[in-house]
């Protein structure tokens, strides 16, 4: 579940806060002879303490009321599903790691087609739309805004792109 409930969420935040305090204490001491006693770790330690206290407070003050805060009628929508978000996550990871290799247009077209078909669109219209959309986005950003989007194997047709 992505909604943890107050107790688990509070403990998670508190643990994170303690981790931050630990990491911040490793930062160097304020320089000797400097006018003030606050080094680079001062502000992070303070924030770590605030996060820890707030996390503990969340865990203790209102235990066992998971999902009490209703964000825009989420509760009506029921339990979250995972396939869709996982697909989005994979698409973005693929973009981060593969865009230089494959190039923007092919990668974007494939990603779009997969997501569109997943969203219930039939294959052929999804393919057409994803090719049109990825080529349009490429030209808009690459030609219009001069963003150096990766061309990948299409580099050979660089004159046309």
């Amino acid at each position: 579940m992505t909604n943890l409930g107050d107790r688990a969420l509070g403990l998670l935040i508190a643990a994170f806060g303690i981790g931050v305090i630990y990491m911040a204490l490793q930062l160097p001491e304020p320089m000797a002879g400097s006018h003030i006693a606050y080094g680079p770790g001062f502000f992070p330690v303070l924030l770590g303490i605030v996060a820890t206290i707030a996390g503990v407070a969340l865990a203790i003050v209102r235990p066992g009321i998971p999902g009490e805060v209703d964000t825009d009628g989420l509760s009506q929508a029921g339990r979250p599903r995972f396939a869709g978000p996982a697909l989005v996550l994979l698409s973005m990871l693929a973009y981060v790691y593969l865009s230089d290799l494959i190039g923007f247009i092919p990668l974007a077209a494939v990603t779009l087609a997969i997501l569109l078909v997943f969203g219930g669109m039939r294959l052929l219209p999804a393919l057409v739309l994803s090719i049109v959309a990825s080529v349009s986005i490429y030209f808009m950003f690459s030609k219009g805004l001069l963003v150096p989007l990766p061309r990948g194997p299409l580099q050979t047709w660089a004159i046309w792109l």
Binding site: M23, A51, M92, L112, L129
Partner: protein, 497 residues
């Protein structure tokens, strides 16, 4: 001053800038009208495009898109009982109740006209009060700035949602993100996890795209929306009889204008809160409080004016102090910084043309809202038929290209992804996003002003209350921090007696 005004007008009314404004208006209306896409998301997605523009068209585009999206959020409220943006949520029931009575044209007409009036009122207040405030702000020292930043962060954490604890958690996380990178005072890298890409800190635009757009995409796929049913087929006669309605609701509109602008000006509080506060205040002093929630035109007018007035009002602290009033201005501030126009009191001395351009862009955008908003209402049926399952993958592409475009590094896409996951996780657990974003923007300012102040005072904390304005701001901030404790004691007292 006249020369700067004329220069700003010449730039704003050039064909190129006008085209940018109309295009961003259509973009904002569309995004605002589609439920699930917000005014903040519209602004965040515009950033990569505005990156290549001069300051005036860039800000004009964002001002127009956010104002239009804020109004357009009312369209699905009225037709589907689904707020298009969170700022429309306060009066969704009233707008929908009117539609059920066959009065969709009345409710959308009120929303459109009061939005435009609210926006223009806020813009006028901005142009009248910002310059004199800036001359006061020029005398501010690090003490005042420290308290002002802290006040903004405090309001956003405490007022945003019902639970201040969640607000504080969000704020602490945001401030911690702002400490990533080289510490400006000592030059020591902090929390970079050995990555050279993080030495300069996390850049703002990919973060914004992540928490406002990518997170929303995750949320869409995690909770497929239930089937929507359009209530009324066609909306005609949006303007008929509106003069009479506006005159009858003049008190509610005036209240919405004033309250919305003031809440917009308070750093850390934005349009969402303005709409809620104005709505509940109007209800409290109404002659027919029972009508509220069942199609009250008064409530619609008061809250519809307030959220757009707040959008304009939020630019007062943004321009005068460089402190964002809400998430949208936080993005705009980031863009201005990238363009070398530093918001803060000196912007009125160094870039007066830009400032006047922003003032005029507001008035123009809100005037344009009337005809373009009318068209959006007429096309509402079409816009609401757009399937999010088709739109979301394309928005995802824009998110990736957009975050890449700002720095031309793939790391930025990774940052957008990371913050998208984080933003989704936070929203799922009821942790508000706004304090987090303000924390990232204001974190470095709070830290630097605190350290500078400590150096000046030789380590004495009392110096933070020495100067009158600093003492006043500090007292308000501390009061807000202690208010939950006070209310706990007040609840316990009667039981003991």
């Amino acid at each position: 001053m006249t020369a700067h005004l004329l220069a700003a007008a010449a730039e704003l009314f050039s064909p190129y800038v006008l085209m940018v404004i109309v295009a961003s208006a259509v973009f904002g209306l569309f995004l605002g009208a589609v439920p699930g896409l917000t005014a903040t998301m519209a602004t965040a997605l515009l950033v990569p495009v505005t990156f290549y523009m001069d300051p005036i068209p860039a800000v004009a585009a964002m001002v127009t898109a956010s104002a239009m999206a804020m109004f357009a959020g009312d369209i699905p409220s009225a037709l589907l009982r689904m707020p298009g943006t969170p700022a429309s949520a306060a009066y969704t029931d009233d707008a929908y109740a009117l539609t059920k009575k066959g009065l969709a044209h009345v409710s959308l007409g009120i929303c459109l006209l009061t939005s435009a009036i609210g926006g223009i009122f806020g813009a006028l207040v901005l142009s009248v009060f910002a310059p004199p405030l800036a001359s006061i702000a020029l005398k501010f020292s690090s003490f005042e700035y420290f308290w002002l930043c802290l006040l903004g962060l405090t309001t956003s954490a405490f007022i945003m949602q019902g639970s201040p604890i969640r607000g504080i958690i969000s704020l602490a996380l945001g401030l911690l993100v702002s400490t990533i990178g080289i510490d400006p005072v000592s030059g020591v890298p902090r929390f970079t996890l050995g990555s050279s890409a993080l030495i300069g800190g996390v850049s703002l635009v990919p973060v914004m795209i992540g928490v406002f757009a990518v997170a929303e995409i995750f949320r869409f796929y995690a909770h497929r929306d239930p089937k929507l049913a359009l209530e009324q087929v066609e909306v005609k006669g949006v303007f008929s009889g509106q003069a009479g309605i506006l005159w009858r609701q003049r008190k509610a509109i005036a209240q919405g204008n004033i309250l919305g602008t003031i809440i917009g000006i308070v750093p850390g509080a934005g349009a969402d809160i303005a709409a809620w506060v104005s709505y509940s205040l109007a209800k409290k002093f109404s002659k027919n409080p029972k009508e509220y929630g069942r199609g009250s035109q008064e409530g619609l007018a008061a809250a519809g004016a307030a959220n757009n007035a707040a959008v304009s009002g939020a630019y007062v602290p943004a321009l005068v102090f460089g402190i964002p009033g809400d998430a949208i201005t936080a993005i705009v501030i980031g863009v201005l910084f990238m363009k070398g126009v530093n918001p803060g009191p000196t912007i009125f001395l160094n870039n007066p043309t830009t400032v006047y351009g922003i003032f005029m862009a507001f008035v123009l955008a809100n005037l344009l809202m009337i005809p373009l908003g009318w068209m959006a209402i007429r096309c509402g049926r079409l816009i609401l038929k757009v399937k999010l399952a088709i739109l979301m993958p394309i928005i995802l592409m824009f998110c990736m290209v957009g975050s890449f475009a700002v720095e031309n590094t793939i790391t930025a896409v990774g940052v957008a992804l990371t913050f998208g996951v984080l933003g989704y996780f936070m929203e799922e657990n009821g942790i508000p996003i706004a304090p987090f974003v303000l924390g990232i923007v204001l974190g470095p300012l709070v830290e630097q002003n605190f350290l500078t102040s400590m150096m000046k005072s030789g380590g004495s904390l009392i110096a933070f209350f020495d100067r009158p304005i600093a003492a006043f701001l500090g007292a308000i901030t501390l009061l807000i921090w202690t208010s939950p404790l006070i209310s706990v004691f007040r609840k316990r007292l009667p039981q003991q007696v």
